[in-house]
Assembly symmetry: C2
Homo-oligomer: 711 residues x 2
């Protein structure tokens, strides 16, 4: 197995070198005019202040949870003897702390890169589109690579330390279960990072828009709006810090789930089955690096989206090749009955996952792009006012759940059947097929994450250019990049939901494996979760309800925090009448401060709800009910997230479509209606929706950690 | 068992006499002035024309489904021999036709009563509140009683004819399964009635509001609005015809489900266990009749809602007493092991159901009443515009799912555990406990339905009074009744969802019993529906997706149909400039015609979606997957319906709260924002939400009918 560790750590070292190179590249770029630097500095300060305070709050929560974990795991595992219980407890605790720390670090890196790349992108825009694209995308790439590498490094090292290289098979087989705490720590931090950031960004955005655009009639990013810096800060703390932590925990949790399943297949593949997810991830990083360096526009008039798509396609192509050799090398061998494993079928599972990733990106594009029917229909319905705009948007969002669900169902079905038949129908074979599919889908994740972080960087750069009064050709460059960034942000959200859905089955079966161990059933036995039992049915009911209640609290938090911003901006306009004609400077800092306090206060309740409910269900209704809770809440969570993300994205772009001159263009009644839709969509797509991705994974990891407590 | 049939038919005959008496009472009332009669006549004509065309469309669909049923059931049951298969097929077909006919008749009665009672209520309002309340509520009572009696008559008679009084136990035990077609026929018609009516009523309402109130600035029900008659027609075809068919199929499907469960308990209770649901229903009708006659206001200044609540309370009290004796008499005896059945525990199940009904009505009131926090918060958020109004409303609607789900979960849990322990832990004992709870909850249904139909009658009466220019004190009476009717409409929706949720378990287990019979397992064995199997998980995924997709198509249908109305009204305002100053008469009929065509066209797609999907899932993924589909789509359907109904109701009342003079009152910016929320909420609460109740039951009955086809 030395060779596999060699590959993994080799990739990590190479990636770190590349990250260092990209980092140097970005910091060697000019920072532009004094005005630009001033604005950028204000954004940087606001973002850092928020993250500092946010991490303090999260830290307190994490310490409380840590104590609970130690006690719960220790006392829950007493049946295994005090020594063993103690070992499990402190391993889980260490893993939890490491996961939480790495997740927080990922979020910090994402934000740090954005606040330092935005100004350089703004300045780079003076030299043309390609320069600005290079800077902004490479800024995103640092985050994308750093987050993925950190996840790989954390999981691999913990596995090694907890017995992964032991010569004792028992120790190796125990190790994956001991690192579930890593996934839980990561999800916990990610949930609060995404929630707090999501509330911040949208409260500032909604607030700034409602008083700025609608009431005062000044354009977006106008320096006269006191909430404009808070709005730009929001892009960083929500889209970057939040999403960084989100995708960190995704990759970690899914890796761990796949490794636990690998244990179940130990008789077939030995340790290779456990290491496969890590090696697949490592090679995916290499593919992403190649893709990242190929992103450039030669012709300045071309759509930058094409360059990004090219990079994504190439990454996917390389992954397809790498995967083949990885599967062939690691997942072949003989079944217990002597017949050979059909590795081509297992490769088919990986392909199904990769295709699903593509499919999700494509479908999200259809439902949120200005060129397709849904957005156009919403724009048209805006002619008859905000009421019909909202009705059409809600309806489109609900419709947009249909095809993705069919795609996921197909991918799960195909990979399950292929895995089952490749492994001769042995227990867990089908599940391992879905694990391979998940690894396939997530192998391009470093590239996807780079595209995602690119979005807020260009958004911010555009804001800086606008506020500093740069010439129109520079604005034109950042506008084009910003439009492109909006698309990539929407697409990666689709990708994130898709991977969450595919991974459910994986994390669910990891949970069942833990249950089997606790009740002393062999891993290759079948543990059924019977929805015909009232406890399981009730647990499912409560699971779906939790998804709705959580979304409710997240959305309302934005509404409440936005109200504070609105009141504050109105106060400033009233007390400083000189703001509107430019003779007085608005007080940006007080707006930033108000949103920070509001967002942090509002994130606590929904967060605690998500932590407490699954544990209570498990304790009161039992292990089987907790499994039903996990599965059914995931189904509802994925579908509600699709609805929220796509409806929000479609409203956003319907407004943009009208601004392009359709249905009366800017300032028309249709535009006013579309602005209302956009406002409603904001907390849908940037607060509740993305937080639901994290919620799904958090429920999986929390049930894994606390399973020993369940009755 | 003769005594039980005696009670049931006795109650039916008494009820028919009461219905005749109430009918005579209403038709002996004066019809009022010529203007009033003209308007009422226009509404009557429009409603009748719609229902005629709607029933033609539904008839065509029903005939196609009938042929499919005959073939599917015949060929699906070939394993039982050609003769037996033929018998099952034609029994199911007869039951289907009867159910469909009775459901259509129920809808027709509801509508017929409303269009004839509205004018008499309007005229009665001249003599004061009590008179108007008496007329309108008794009009509703005719519908409520007729629908419930029809359901009881249909189910009992089919059961008798199909072998219910046979001396051969085998024939008796087969009979309940043969009448599932009755439930399916009823649900099929109810789905299209509710959908078509729901689309009609809201397209007309939204259309009329958007051009009338918002664009032209004329008040609601203003005769200058060309869509005003269509709007009033809508109240009849949606709220009356639709809801009548909806509650008809509810009571029928749940009775049948409980009877099938009774078969499983045949060794304990004999035929009494099968007849119990029918006797409980019959006695509930008697209790409702007493309650209906007690509804009156002595003091004209008092809130009419108090009178209705008093009637509801008395009905519930009588039901509590009746239930005790019914349970004691019918559900006692000895278990196979010789110990006695604990009938007090079974009575506890009934009480749990009755309390749940109360709880739902109370919770719905909390979330939609102008006196409670949710509505007030939405009204306050309207100050910052339609965006925040929508955000707050969505968030409140999502929140409103939480407590009802906990209530349902508790009721299911308690009744299951009580049933299980009352029946000494024998198979299906727990389930029979939930069946008793369902019967308890539904025993007040005739009264609830009377309250529900009362809503549109007063709404219409108010419209007639407004349009005929009656004096203010008359308007004041109808306004008070209308406000009261809005509350009862919201409450009964909560009741309908609650009963659907409680009955799921019942219909699910009826389905499992059918599966057991087909695969040759004994009825007291356990058939598990394992969500850990990929087919079941995928089916659940698709089930939740169907609920969203269906809601999407239903909501969009309203948006589309409303657009036609808006265009038509704008055209009339443009071509007939005299309408606004009263010199020209608008063309009401063309509006009515346009909505009729639009609504009927739009109802077909979502309807077919609901019929085809469960059958396809069963055929492609198998019986167990279909069971998962049934359960998980029901969970999602109940929760989404709660969200849609409550958000819609809260928006409606937030607007009313502002109109009472809060937050700037009528014509303020807050009011404009609240009108947008009301517009959005309309298709939520009157089209998609109520159609989801029917969808849930339709999925249950369709899987029951087609189970023999599933792989």
């Amino acid at each position: 197995m030395g060779i596999y560790y060699g590959i993994i750590y080799g990739v990590i070292i190479v990636s770190l070198a590349i990250i260092y190179y990209l980092f140097k590249y970005i910091f060697s770029q000019e920072k532009g005019s004094k005005e630009m630097q001033e604005i950028s500095e204000a954004i940087r300060e606001g973002a850092m202040a928020f993250v500092k305070r946010q991490y303090k709050t999260i830290g307190i929560i994490a310490v409380i949870v840590l104590v609970i974990i130690l006690l719960a795991v220790y006392f829950g595992n007493q049946s295994k003897g005090a020594d063993e219980a103690f070992k499990i407890a402190w391993h889980t605790a260490i893993a939890f702390v490491t996961g939480a720390f790495c997740s927080a670090l990922s979020g910090y890196i994402g934000m740090y890169m954005t606040v330092n790349t935005n100004i350089r992108t703004a300045n780079g825009a003076k030299s043309g589109l390609n320069k600005a694209l290079q800077i902004s995308f490479r800024g995103g790439a640092v985050t994308g690579l750093a987050v993925t590498v950190l996840s790989l490094l954390g999981v691999t090292t913990l596995f090694l330390v907890f017995g992964g290289s032991s010569s004792d098979d028992t120790l190796i087989k125990e190790a994956p279960s001991l690192i579930v705490g890593f996934g839980f720590g990561a999800s916990l931090v990610a949930l609060f990072a995404q929630l707090g950031g999501g509330i911040y960004t949208k409260a500032a955005d909604v607030g700034a828009d409602l008083v700025g655009k609608v009431e005062a009639g000044i354009p977006e990013d106008d320096p006269r709006n006191p909430a404009v810096i808070a709005d730009l800060v929001g892009d960083n703390v929500g889209d970057c810090a939040g999403r960084g932590a989100d995708l960190f925990e995704s990759t970690a949790a899914e890796n761990i789930g796949a490794m636990i399943l690998g244990v179940a297949l130990f008789p077939v593949f030995g340790v290779k089955g456990i290491l496969f997810p890590l090696v697949a991830r490592a090679l995916g990083i290499i593919a992403s690096i190649v893709g990242i360096f190929l992103v450039q526009v030669k012709d300045e008039s071309k759509d930058p989206m094409k360059a990004l798509n090219k990079g994504y396609l190439i990454t996917t192509g390389i992954v397809l090749v790498f995967m083949f050799f990885t599967v062939k090398n690691m997942l072949s061998g003989n079944l217990p009955n002597g017949t050979e494993v059909n590795y081509m079928m297992l490769y088919g599972c990986a392909v199904a996952g990769i295709v699903l990733g593509f499919g999700f990106v494509w479908l999200t594009n259809y439902y949120t792009s200005v060129e397709c029917r849904p957005v156009k229909e919403i724009a048209k319905s805006s002619e008859t006012g905000p009421g019909t705009n909202i009705i059409t948007g809600v309806s489109m969002g609900m419709e947009s759940t249909a095809l993705p669900v069919l795609f996921i169902s197909l991918a799960i079905f195909i990979s399950y059947k292929l895995g089952d038949s490749a492994l001769g129908g042995i227990a867990n074979g089908g599940l391992y097929g879905t694990a391979i599919a998940t690894m396939g889908m997530l192998s391009t994740c470093a590239f996807i994450l780079a595209m995602d972080t690119f979005g807020p960087i260009t958004d911010n750069a555009g804001g800086i250019v606008e506020m500093s009064g740069a010439p129109e050709e520079v604005r034109n460059v950042t506008d084009r990049l910003d439009a492109c960034g909006n698309t990539t942000k929407a697409l990666t959200k689709g990708y994130a939901v898709g991977s969450a859905a595919l991974a459910t089955f994986l994390l669910f079966s990891a949970y069942l494996d833990e249950v089997k161990k606790i009740i002393g059933k062999p891993l290759d036995s079948w543990f059924s979760v019977d929805i015909g039992k009232p406890e399981v049915f009730i647990a499912g009911f409560i699971g779906v309800m939790l998804v709705f209640l959580f979304s409710s609290t997240a959305i309302r938090a934005v509404g409440r925090a936005a109200q504070y911003v609105i009141m504050e901006v109105r106060r400033q306009f009233k007390e400083k009448p000189g703001i509107m004609d430019g003779t007085e400077k608005p007080d940006y800092a007080s707006c930033v401060d108000i949103v920070t306090k509001g967002a942090l206060k509002e994130m606590v309740l929904p967060g605690i709800l998500v932590i407490v409910t699954p544990v209570l269900v498990g304790i009161l209704l039992g292990k089987e009910a907790a499994a039903g809770f996990l599965m059914i809440s995931t189904i509802a969570g994925v579908i509600l997230a699709l609805f929220l993300n796509n409806a929000g994205g479609a409203w956003d772009n319907a407004k943009k479509f009208i601004e392009l001159g359709n249905h009366g263009g800017k300032k028309s009644e249709a535009h006013k209606a579309a602005v209302v839709g956009d406002t409603v969509g904001d907390p849908f797509k940037d607060t509740a929706g993305p937080s639901l991705h994290v919620l799904i994974k958090l429920i999986s990891t929390i049930t894994l950690v606390f399973v020993s407590l369940f009755s």
